[in-house]
């Protein structure tokens, strides 16, 4: 319990540091949203319009950074992330709320599926070395070394196109209203197949390879020989003795990767113009949309920290050696 409290205190401190950085970094980017708007309209904005835009965006107050910082915290603690510049005047929390389910749905499910599948195959490959799964390893290693987005581009070039089953961009058929009905759900699934496959193919082999190697390492441990000598069934030795121990490093890796679900696959979302958080962040950077950027970074930061905490707790549960007595 004491250990857990220590960890939580540590993560609170980290959160503070990250949020502070979140605040300062976007403000170090040269230019401001009004300038971005001007250049978007190729300078065809009158001086009055510029001034009113500045007032509108709240950029006319000439606050010092310190004052802005205090304001930022006050707002944050009220759950107010400000208004998005890009989707003005939509609140940032609404923009994030709209795009978060897309990212969590797509990347979350693929991360979990890829972990489960990769780990299961890794257990098989490590336990029966030289089986057909081992023959797959070079191919999967090759695939995992290819960046997500490039694989995505290749997938679009190969499978998407006019008249193809797979759409090349978006999260659903334009014209459909997001709702849980028989039109929208199939369309959403159809749009997610290519990006999901892209992520799955390139991330799964990492789990496979690490699980296989841990299985091989654990298989030569004394307690595995003892388990064999005890005449336990092959299945029990493989799962309860070998895989159970080999799993430990993978589980913490998995918990960490949960944290990157939210922001980790920016490039895939950009390539597929998928309406998730990563795509939103990309747009926010383009428009110098500080509030949205800060909001998204905040969500990413919190999810990474929560994932770390989950990793700690998972390790505590799985490995008795990390539990402190008493």
């Amino acid at each position: 319990m004491k250990f857990l409290l220590q960890r939580i205190a540590f993560y609170l401190f980290t959160a503070w540091a990250a949020i502070t950085l979140n605040f300062f970094i976007p403000r170090m980017i040269p230019g401001d949203p009004v300038q971005a708007l001007i250049s978007r309209n190729q300078g065809r904005i009158s001086a009055d319009a510029i001034q009113s835009l500045r007032v509108l965006f709240g950029l006319d107050k000439n606050q010092s950074l310190a004052e802005q910082y205090v304001d930022y915290w006050t707002q944050l603690l009220h759950g107010d992330l400000g208004l998005s510049f890009t989707f003005f005047p939509t609140p940032v929390s609404t923009v994030i709320g709209d795009s978060l389910p897309w990212t969590v749905g797509l990347v979350g499910i693929t991360t979990i599926v890829s972990f489960l599948l990769g780990t299961a195959l890794g257990v098989g490959a490590g336990w029966r070395r030289g089986s057909w799964i081992d023959a797959l390893l070079p191919a999967t290693t090759f695939l995992s070394s290819i960046p997500y987005f490039w694989l995505g581009l290749v997938a679009i070039a190969l499978f998407a196109g006019p008249g193809s089953f797979f759409p090349s961009s978006g999260g659903y058929e334009p014209g459909l209203v997001p709702a849980f009905d028989q039109y929208f759900i199939p369309s959403a699934i159809r749009h997610s197949i290519l990006p999901a496959a892209t992520i799955l193919v390139s991330s799964m082999s990492g789990w496979l390879l690490s699980m296989r190697n841990m299985m091989v390492t654990v298989s030569s441990e004394d307690y595995i020989t003892v388990a064999h000598a005890k005449g336990l069934s092959e299945r029990r030795v493989a799962l309860s003795y070998a895989a159970r121990n080999a799993l430990l490093p993978n589980v913490s890796g998995f918990a960490l990767s949960l944290g990157f679900i939210v922001g980790g696959t920016l490039l895939v979302e950009i390539v597929f113009s998928y309406p998730g958080l990563g795509f939103q962040l990309f747009q926010a950077v383009g428009y110098k949309d500080y509030p949205l950027m800060q909001g998204i970074f905040l969500i990413i930061t919190i999810s990474v920290l929560v994932a770390n905490l989950i990793a700690d707790v998972a390790y505590l549960l799985l490995d008795p050696r990390t539990r402190k007595s008493g």
Partner: protein, 335 residues
Amino acid sequence: MSEPVLEVRKLRVDYGLGDEAVHAVRDVDLTLHRGEVLGLAGESGSGKSTLAYGLTRLLPPPGVVSGGQVVYHPLDGLPVDVLTLTPAKLRQFRWAETSIVFQGAMNSLNPVHRVSTQLLDVIKAHEPRSTAAGRLARARELLRLVGISADRLDSYPHQLSGGMRQRVMIAMALALEPQVVIMDEPTTALDVVMQRQILGQLAELRQRLGFAVLFITHDLSLLVEFSDRIAIMYGGRIVEEAPAVELYRRALHPYTDGLLHSFPALRGPRRELTGIPGSPPDLRAMPSGCAFHPRCPKAFGPCDKELPPLGPPGDDRPGRAVACWLHPAAEPVPR
């Protein structure tokens, strides 16, 4: 002498296949009688552990049993050759008939499971019809047998000391009341005080339960005290076999003699510590004739040409066998 319980006949174990194979165990004949302690000693690399792994079919690849028989005589029923058992039969045989205590006291227990889980799963695997309460009672009883309090069942291995872990392993080895317990350097990783305690306990348990022990160690002094008979291994072969006391009093093979002069006696006249010059033979390129002849102080004529057979020495000593040209067999050994 009582009837045999485990007979090793012409067992050969190789590492690797074909011409490249290294012969780690060569035509070993060894008989373990019911209820006795048979010590197996030799330097590192003499093949003693390989023999243990080979006869239980636990050899990790590239180890291969390339010949011979391991005949097990159950209490009731016909003798079986362990080497030809089907995987399912082999699983039944393991631990129920022959259990093993391994060298690494520290790593023999699965670190993520409680002691109870590891004690209970073996009972459950072999006696599927036993009840959970019955198994638990047995586990408690087993721990008490080795002098560990029953509340340690809920401990994880890392919460136990090295000595306790090894005693848990011994308790586990006795869980199914096997006829044979193979001990592969069970006390090597422990300090001498703990060694003594555990060996004392083991001797007592053996008296009570009557299992036979194949005790493998490089510590001959330990064997002299603890075992009934001792077999000495060199270069993958048994070179001498004798009752423990006789072996200690009068070793016939120069190698045994060398081993006996490698540790000091606590009482009695001082002997000179000589050790054995040279190093154990390279299994990939064994010397011709007797494998020991390049290191042997008494090597003569036939030693580097012909392999001495293992047989009773010329003088009338029952229960002894030696493979040395200094003590040629009284009569040609029937092979």
